[in-house]
Every structure is written in C-alpha cells, then in structure tokens.
Symmetry: C3
C-alpha cells in the first residue's frame, strides 16, 4: 500500500513546503509595506502578494485531493509528474503575480491546464474502477490491450 503512494506523498510534502514559502512571503510583504493584521488592504504591491498566496491556498486542497485520487485510481507515476508540473506552475504564478497583475496570467493558465488534465485522469480512473467493480469490465486494460495488439 505504502509503495503505491510514496511518490504522491513526496509531491504532497513538496506542495506543503511551497505553501509555507508563499505564507512567509506574505509575512515579509506585510513588514515591507507596513500592513498590520487584521488589515488585508494596502498598496497594490502588497495586495498582489496577498491575493497570490490566497489563490494558491484556495486551490491547495483541490490539488491535493485530485493528486491522490489520480494516484490511487489512474497512475501514481503520471499523478506525481502532473503534481510536479502544477507546483512549478504555481511558483511561476506567485512570482509573476508579485511583479504585476498581468504576470500572473500565463502561469495561471498553465497550472489550470495541468489541474484539468489531472481532473480528467482521476475521473477516467474512478469510472474505470466502478466499471470493474459493478460491471466486471476493465476498460483501461482493454484499451491498452488494443494499443499493444
């Protein structure tokens, strides 16, 4: 069991470290632009860093959830690879958004595309497991059999 999830667990720990890094950046921005809690309004430079972190935090549970469902029901290797790409996209997004509102767009579209791929793969994996369990059909194995023949 542990063997089947160790790589997605590693990507998960990396994702948590990335979120910790984003949180620290907000703390530094609060000091730099003198925005004391509980206020979250300030100069645009501060608000961009704050919103970048808020957006990444909002997507973090969705990402972790879909990473594990893809890893368990589709393929651990592909889930881990997509996970690394997503985390890279989020790092680019955070750095881009910190510089300008426009700079967030390209990496945001990239990480959204990776997330959609993972959502698609997890849906395929779960549907395949349901077909196997309730109808006795292994659609994915049948399709990969067709490719090999």
């Amino acid at each position: 069991m542990i063997d089947q999830v160790v790589n997605i667990a590693a990507v998960t720990v990396l994702g948590v470290l990335e979120q910790a890094y984003f949180s620290l950046q907000v703390i530094y921005a609060r000091r730099k632009y003198s925005v004391s809690p509980p206020s979250t309004s300030g100069p645009p430079e501060f608000e961009r860093v704050f919103r970048a972190q808020a957006n990444c935090s909002e997507y973090f549970p969705i990402f972790i959830t879909i990473l594990w469902v893809t890893g368990l029901f589709f393929s651990q290797a592909i889930a881990s690879l997509c996970g690394l790409l997503y985390l890279y996209g989020r790092l680019m997004y955070f750095q881009g958004y910190s510089e300008s509102a426009h700079g967030r767009l390209a990496p945001l579209y990239f990480s959204a595309k990776v997330l959609w791929v993972m959502i698609g793969l997890s849906a395929v994996g779960v549907l395949n497991s349901m077909c196997q369990l309730y109808l006795g059909l292994d659609t994915l194995q049948y399709l990969s059999g067709l490719l090999v023949d």
Copy 2:
C-alpha cells in the same frame, strides 16, 4: 481497498468539478462587473458571487476530510449519499447567494445539517473502531445485532 473507497472517490471528483464551476462563475462575474484582480471589492452582485465561492472553498477541505473519514470508518454507501446531498445543497447555496444575500440561507442551513450528520457519523465510526482496537468491543455490530433480534 480500492473497492471500499471508489464511491467516495467518485463523489470527491464531483466535488472538485463543482468547485471548478464556482471558480469559473467568479471569473465571469469579474468580467461582467469589471472587477480586475487583485481587487475583490465591487458591486454587491459581484461580491455575493465572490463570497459564495469563497465560502464553498473554505468548506471544501472540511467536506472532503469528513467524507473520507465517514466512508472509511462508518459506511461508504451512507458517506457517498450524504456527500451527494451536500454537493447539491452547495449548488443551491451558490445559485441562491448569487441572486440575493437572503437566498443563500435555506440551502446553507441544509448543507450545514448534512455536514453535521457526517461529522456525527464519522465520530461514531472512529469511536467504534477505537473501542474495537483498544477494548475489543464492536459496539456498532452489537447495536445492529440488537435491532435485528
């Protein structure tokens, strides 16, 4: 193992798709009411959509966590059913809140009730597993035995 979680995994993927739908609605509302990031203030029509999505996002990790604990420790079938009801309640909440602040209340209470039921069932399931493991008692099986007799 996979058989014991495939239905809750399916509800999980549905939940992620619902969150994706809410996020898209915020993007459309930003365009419609010309509220550019990083700003999150605007006309009440925009703020309602924004807050509806923020509230659903905030509850998403709690929902997913409790869905899986209920599924693993109480019953996969009941967890999946409650999960579907919760997701339906959240859809009604989002649509109601988009129309008026008052429109959010009835579905909010409904989805909160479903969540409380799941929290209760997960607590019962986990306590039962702890009794089984540490005291050697299977309370749930004993109680259902009483009902059958």
Copy 3:
C-alpha cells in the same frame, strides 16, 4: 489498515469540530457587530475574529494533509500527539486574536513550530520509504538500531 490510521482519524474529527466552533464564532460576531454578508469589513473586534477564522481555515488543509502523511510514513502515535498540540495551539490563537492583534502572536508561533516539526517528520518518513523502495535501505530502522546498541 484501519488500525494504522484510527488515531489520526480521531484527531481529524477533533480538528473538524474545532473548525466548526470557529465558524460559529464568526456567525456570532457578525450578529454582535451587525456585519451582514457579503461584507467582511467592520469594527476591528469583528475583523479580528473573521481573520482568525480565515487563517485557521487556510491552514486546515495543510494541517490535515501533513498529519496523515506523518501518520502513514513516520509514526501514528507521534503524528496524533503533534496533531493534538497543533489543535490546542490554534484554539489559543483564536482566543488570543479575538482579544487583540498582539494576543495572536505567541500561540501562532507555537502552532507554526508544531507544524514545522510535522513537516520535518513527514519528509523524513517519506524519504525513508523512498530509500527502502528504490535503494533497499531502511535508514530509520538502521538509525534506531544504532541507538539501541
């Protein structure tokens, strides 16, 4: 399998109950200070309660994720203990922040330290499992062997 996660599942349910308690406090604060949704601005007393809950909600998925990875890959007992300490720290944080912006600091640092310990332990556990799987080395068992000799 269930035996290996029942304690972290119990901490998880406690964590969900704590989040529910925080959410109820925001509802009471909205009534007390007459801040109707979708607005999130009001007197500092309200904004502190609102931000305290928002901060706890933001860290909740990170906490749950790292609790389970630590429990699965390092030690269930240590993960559960750290989890209880973290939840205690968050309760102190919420109560401190509700009283004053300064009151949040000591428990915030405490819960951040506990979270860093869990992140460290989960990283050690996952790396150890990867060494075992890909290199055939059980580093943790080797180290604990050295301590015993």
